[in-house]
């Protein structure tokens, strides 16, 4: 019961904030609503027993990346900037990506076997400690060690690249 209420609060919140991100005129307001989306998502993560992911979501996305977003938006003050795309092209691209996203979601929903006519999926029994930092750490350093290391090397390359670009003298 409580879970249903929380789920509707967080999911409606996420959708509402997301709509505001798109429709607000002021870039700072958009960024703030994006923070709202991220916080709602982290609430949903908690409901899915993924407390660690939820905390990381707040710490990294809402706490660090969005602050940098705001920082850049405030410093650049992009209000009078000429947009990269013409309004028509922007709408076209937007429609294309929205369609792709919709098809993908439809694919997942229809492919999951549940829904109309089909038998509802059995409730998954979670192993003890599911979603806890200990279990995630064990999985990252055993089953998923290779992708984990590859990701870290990728990030290292990005860091070094950023430093090199920032240090270059533009003549």
């Amino acid at each position: 019961m409580i879970e249903a209420i929380l789920f509707s609060v967080f999911s409606l919140g996420a959708v509402g904030f997301a709509l505001n991100v798109v429709f607000r005129r002021n870039p700072v307001h958009c960024a703030l609503h994006l923070v709202g989306v991220l916080l709602s998502l982290s609430g949903l993560f908690v409901l899915l027993n993924a407390q660690f992911i939820a905390a990381i979501q707040i710490l990294v996305y809402a706490g660090a990346i969005m602050v940098l977003f705001l920082f850049v938006v405030m410093l650049l003050n992009v209000r009078g900037e000429t947009p990269l795309l013409t309004p028509g092209a922007a709408k076209g691209f937007g429609f294309l990506f929205a369609l792709l996203g919709f098809v993908e979601l439809l694919w997942i929903v229809l492919g999951s076997g549940g829904g109309e006519g089909g038998a509802s999926k059995p409730v998954v029994v979670l192993p003890p400690g599911f979603g806890s930092p200990v279990e995630i750490g064990k999985m990252l350093y055993s089953t998923w060690l290779f992708p984990f290391e590859v990701t870290s090397i990728l990030l290292l390359i990005a860091v070094i690249g950023a430093v090199v670009l920032a240090k270059r003298k533009f003549v």
Partner: protein
């Protein structure tokens, strides 16, 4: 989720809330008295015995002041911004254990609002959200000095959060848990201040920087920015920023106590009393810092954060990891 749990949780929330709201005027009084004597003055002494009620009088004065919203300010953000740092400070306080378990009517209640297995991450997350209050307050004022103050503080907090987090990771490596209650439990026979002294020093420097207090109060540097991000805030909006600063001092001290100074552990006296003694000492220490050190220059602040604290905290982490591995393999 039974009734006893609900009632005890509500009671704990009310106790912590009341403690902070009543404690902050006391800390402000303590700060003014201590700094007064350190600067060879007397400090407040007119209202109440030893000037104890001075802060209450100031609070009432702030209530009565006109609540100004500057022309051209972003009204909604301007109203929301002062509340944000207070909210995040209280959220962070919710995972700090302030005593051992007590038994009331057959129910064992841990003296901590909630013991989550991600407490350390939760604290880092909430404190990193606190910067929004300052940066948005600066931006929404539609005025140049507040904007500069807000931007300064966001850059400062992002820079110092890294070293702060990494200094906490060293202790997490030793304990193997992210729960503050278990970290405190593991310190029964020895505080982590001994093996992790450098981690603590780094954390404390970053902690003071996170609260935006002297010597890291560049966000509100009076001599250059009028009053920084809260220049345009009056009345209770200003009071909220004030409250948040002192609540954040409690958060920083509470974490330092729980992680490095044995939490509520101590001989003879009951655990809660030990926690309060340690808390008072830490708050005094932070006030003492303010009376002692001059403000850093902005470039010094950034260079210190990125070129000194971050490498040192990484070094501390690496040494801790190596020592732990060697000890485990022996």
């Amino acid at each position: 989720m039974d009734l006893a749990f609900l009632i005890s949780s509500a009671a704990k929330v009310l106790i912590v809330l009341g403690f902070v709201l009543l404690g902050v005027p006391l800390i402000v009084w303590m700060e003014r008295k201590v700094i007064g004597h350190m600067q060879d003055r007397i400090g407040p002494q007119r209202v109440g015995p030893f000037g104890l009620l001075q802060t209450i009088a100031d609070g009432i004065k702030l209530f009565m002041k006109e609540d100004l919203v500057p022309a051209g300010a972003d009204k909604v953000v301007f109203i929301i911004a002062p509340a944000l740092p207070v909210i995040t400070a209280f959220l962070a306080l919710s995972v700090i254990p302030f005593g051992d378990t007590v038994t009331v009517l057959g129910h064992t209640i841990p003296l901590q609002i909630t013991d989550v297995n991600i407490a350390v991450l939760w604290i880092l997350g909430t404190t990193s959200m606190g910067v929004y209050g300052i940066v948005l307050g600066g931006w929404a004022s539609n005025s140049k000095y507040p904007l500069l103050g807000g931007l300064r503080s966001s850059a400062q907090m992002i820079s110092y959060e890294l070293a702060q987090g990494i200094s906490l990771v060293s202790v997490i490596l030793m304990t193997g848990t992210l729960s503050l209650a278990s970290i405190v439990k593991q310190q029964e026979h020895g505080w982590f201040i001994l093996p992790q002294f450098f981690g603590f020093v780094i954390y404390m420097i970053c902690g003071v920087a996170e609260t935006n207090r002297a010597p890291f109060d560049l966000a509100e540097a009076e001599t250059e920015l009028v009053a920084g991000f809260h220049t345009e805030f009056s009345s209770m909006k200003f009071a909220l920023y004030f409250l948040a600063e002192y609540a954040n001092m409690m958060v920083v001290s509470g974490i330092a106590i729980s992680v490095w100074f044995g939490g509520w552990h101590g001989p003879f006296l009951p655990p809660v009393v030990w926690f309060l003694i340690k808390l008072s000492l830490f708050l005094f220490f932070i006030v003492w810092l303010r009376a002692t050190y001059p403000r850093l220059r902005y470039d010094q602040l950034m260079a210190f954060g990125w070129k000194v604290l971050l490498p040192l905290s990484l070094l501390n982490l690496a040494v801790t990891a190596v020592v732990l591995t060697l000890a485990a393999n022996r």
